[in-house]
């Protein structure tokens, strides 16, 4: 286990100066993920912020082979790459499909469910910035209750975030993990582990997004940490059905010192129209989920 960032793979696979926004959580998480997966990797991705990060033809800041796809097709594309490599006897390459929450929770769900059910040998990463950011911060089914988006501009989002991780767990895949770029070593280790496992591996990456969430770019790490501290984001992994808290969430579970969600919400512009009732509902929602996780950790 690398005890500090200097022990991670020193090679960079993304050059600085991408087209992502300043303080983009995705850029950080993606950087560590690529470091963990190393050279023999193929990436496939749909329309999303990552596609923009990958640059405008004929230049790209990314030094991994990657295939751009239509919005709904990420996991099917990975299936095709895996099948093609298999047919050509090139079976040692890691295939990573990576899409936003819109391209996963919403439009990509059919292809992902199909690929996971078929046990396709690939890593699927959902980077979750809780909205359609590339198209201008519209609501997705990953947007939390009470958030302002450009399609919930006055009343805020009325529904809770879809518990997509549960849906992925229901596919009985060998490995599933949640990550945050605010905890890069935890993230890195999970990708290293996922790389070694065969079959469909699902990694959820919560990525704070300054323009979409309404906070200053310098606060990305802080925002990601608060999400974990308040239990809105829980760091864990499920290996062959066995649940385990990891990193900061593990200590929170042991010490019981979770912060109230308001500490996280009050620092983001997107929650400024949230009412007391919604705040209460969101706290209850987080508490209930947290209890479920605690129960699972007990076995």
């Amino acid at each position: 286990m690398p005890e500090n960032l200097f022990k991670l793979n020193a090679k960079e696979y993304i050059l600085p100066g991408t087209r992502a926004c300043q303080g983009c959580g995705l850029s950080l998480g993606y950087r560590y993920a690529l470091k963990a997966l190393r050279e023999n990797t193929i990436v496939t991705l749909p329309a999303c912020c990552l596609c923009v990060l990958h640059g405008i033809y004929p230049t790209t800041p990314v030094m991994v082979p990657c295939l751009n796809n239509s919005f709904a097709s990420t996991a099917a594309s990975a299936s095709g790459i895996v099948a093609g490599l298999q047919a050509l006897n090139k079976t040692d390459t890691t295939v990573m499909a990576i899409a936003g929450d819109g391209g996963t929770f919403d439009m990509g769900i059919q292809a992902l469910s199909g690929a996971a059910e078929r046990g396709t040998d690939f890593i699927y990463v959902c980077y979750d910035n809780e909205g359609y950011m590339n198209t201008g911060t519209q609501r997705s089914s990953a947007t939390p209750m009470g958030a302002l988006t450009s399609t919930t501009p006055i009343l805020t989002k009325q529904q809770h975030k879809k518990d997509f991780i549960k849906i992925m767990e229901a596919h009985d895949i060998p490995y599933l993990a949640t990550t945050s770029p605010s905890y890069p070593i935890d993230l890195y280790e999970k990708f290293v582990k996922a790389k070694k496992i065969k079959g469909t591996r699902y990694i959820h990456m919560y990525v704070p997004c300054p323009p979409g969430w309404g906070y200053a770019p310098k606060d990305t790490i802080k925002t990601g940490k608060l999400a974990v501290e308040t239990g809105l984001v829980v760091l864990f992994e499920v290996e062959n059905g066995k649940f385990r808290f990891t990193g900061r969430s593990k200590t929170l579970a042991e010490r019981g010192n979770r912060l109230p969600v308001i500490n996280y919400l009050e620092k983001q512009g997107r929650f400024k129209k949230m009412n007391i009732e919604q705040l209460h509902q969101l706290q209850v929602w987080v508490d209930t989920k947290w209890q479920e996780y605690l129960k699972r950790a007990e076995g």
């Binding site: 082979p65 097709s73 099917a76 594309s77 299936s79 047919a87 059919q110 292809a111």
Partner: protein, 402 residues
């Protein structure tokens, strides 16, 4: 030595794919294509065909799997019909824009709503502008042979090919088919050698965002903008007829069967009246031409084999002496007329071909079309031409129109 067996169109298509040693198959069942995807699973599970078969959860994914597998260098195959093809629409553009030599069979069927499982060609005609080449077959032998030719064409032009054949009329009808020898097919179609592949050995960002204008790369070389890329797709299809004709000629030399290249003719040379169609309907028209000839009307048939790229030069040549043209189509561009009718008229523009043209919409949703109906329709057209009508209104064949 010939090896003739009796089989359905779906069996012929599956055999064709097998003879081409496709490496990845992805398909989703839909009537009347289903039997084709079943036969291919049989081949793969029994080990007769060494390929990866991805049993996808829908047609959008079927074509995505083919696109991605082709991108890493595999020869790929898929097939669908009707609403399955419509569900793929986004990926049809993606496949052509990616310049991948994918071959797909479209087992032609009418589209909903309302539902029909029976044949017409609205499904593939509605995909006309996706950048795919489209070849229409008239019998099961031609289906098998065209699948083989399609790979040779696709891999030379770097554009996908749709091999279209009529649902039930061909897909489920037994006909004798001469099965080519595997070694001969291999000689005609060597293993696929992709010119660019997605690989960790040479990392590339494929199909990224393009700006409208040209841009310089890191070495200062000016590279394509979106329009240059699109132009190249058009230019490739503009040149494709040469490849298609020569693939047909080479096939005829190797296997002794000539399916006509861009189009086929039946007594068209000396015909006053030329009947035009695609697929099995054009085949039926040959029987109509025989009847008309027996009645003293010099009729012939031109079957449009390749609808995209459109055989502009070829039709200008075969229609140069035509005195009257009648077109039967199993699809329509709603709000105007049959697409083939429009395209044919456009091809004649500015030439000396001034023959009057009458378009018919026929056989939608599996409505039976008999040779004698074609004969009666052709005679009606001739009568209206005699009355001086140069371009009569589109007629719906054997349809109660109130």
């Amino acid at each position: 030595m010939s090896n003739v067996q009796i089989m359905t169109g779906n069996q012929a298509a599956a055999l064709g794919a097998k003879l081409c040693n496709v490496e990845v198959v992805a398909a989703y069942p839909i009537t009347p294509q289903s039997q084709l995807s079943e036969i291919l699973s049989q081949y793969v599970e029994s080990g007769e065909l060494k390929a990866e078969y991805v049993r996808v959860e829908g047609e959008h994914s079927a074509l995505t799997v083919c696109i991605s597998a082709s991108t890493v260098g595999a020869r790929v195959f898929t097939a669908t019909s009707a609403n399955g093809l419509l569900y793929m629409h986004e990926q049809l553009h993606w496949a052509a824009g990616s310049r991948l030599p994918i071959v797909m069979c479209c087992v032609n069927r009418g589209v909903g709503a309302p539902w029909t499982i029976f044949n017409d060609q609205q499904d593939s005609l509605a995909q006309r502008d996706t950048g795919w080449m489209q070849i229409y077959c008239r019998n099961n032998q031609e289906i098998l042979d065209t699948v083989i030719q399609a790979y040779r064409i696709a891999e030379a032009v770097y554009c996908p090919v749709m091999v279209c054949y009529d649902g039930f009329v061909l897909s489920h009808t037994m006909m004798p088919v001469d099965i080519p020898d595997a070694a001969d097919v291999k000689a005609f179609l060597p293993p696929y050698k992709p010119h660019t592949i997605l690989s960790p050995d040479d990392p590339r960002n494929l199909n990224p965002v393009l700006f409208p204008g040209q841009r310089r790369d890191s070495e200062g070389v000016l590279r394509d903008g979106y329009m240059e890329m699109r132009y190249k797709l058009q230019a490739a299809l503009d040149k494709a007829p040469e490849t298609i004709r020569s693939a047909n000629t080479a096939f005829a030399e190797a296997f002794g069967r000539n399916h006509g290249g861009m189009l086929w003719e039946y007594h068209a040379n000396d015909a006053d009246l030329i009947i035009v169609g695609m697929g099995s309907l054009a085949s039926e028209a040959t029987a109509a031409a025989d009847i008309l000839r027996a009645e003293g009307i010099k009729a012939g048939v031109v079957g449009i084999r390749v609808y995209r790229p459109f055989p502009k030069e070829d039709v200008r040549d075969v229609f140069r002496n035509a005195k009257a043209v009648v077109i039967f189509e199993k699809s329509i561009s709603y709000g105007y007329e049959g697409g083939l009718c429009s395209d044919l008229k456009a091809a004649f523009y500015g030439t000396n071909i001034k023959a009057p043209i009458h378009g018919y919409i026929a056989g939608l949703g599996g409505r039976d079309v008999k040779a004698r109906e074609l004969v009666a329709a052709a005679k009606d057209s001739l009568a209206s031409f005699d009355r001086g009508m140069v371009e009569p209104k589109t007629t719906w064949l054997s349809t109660f129109t109130g």
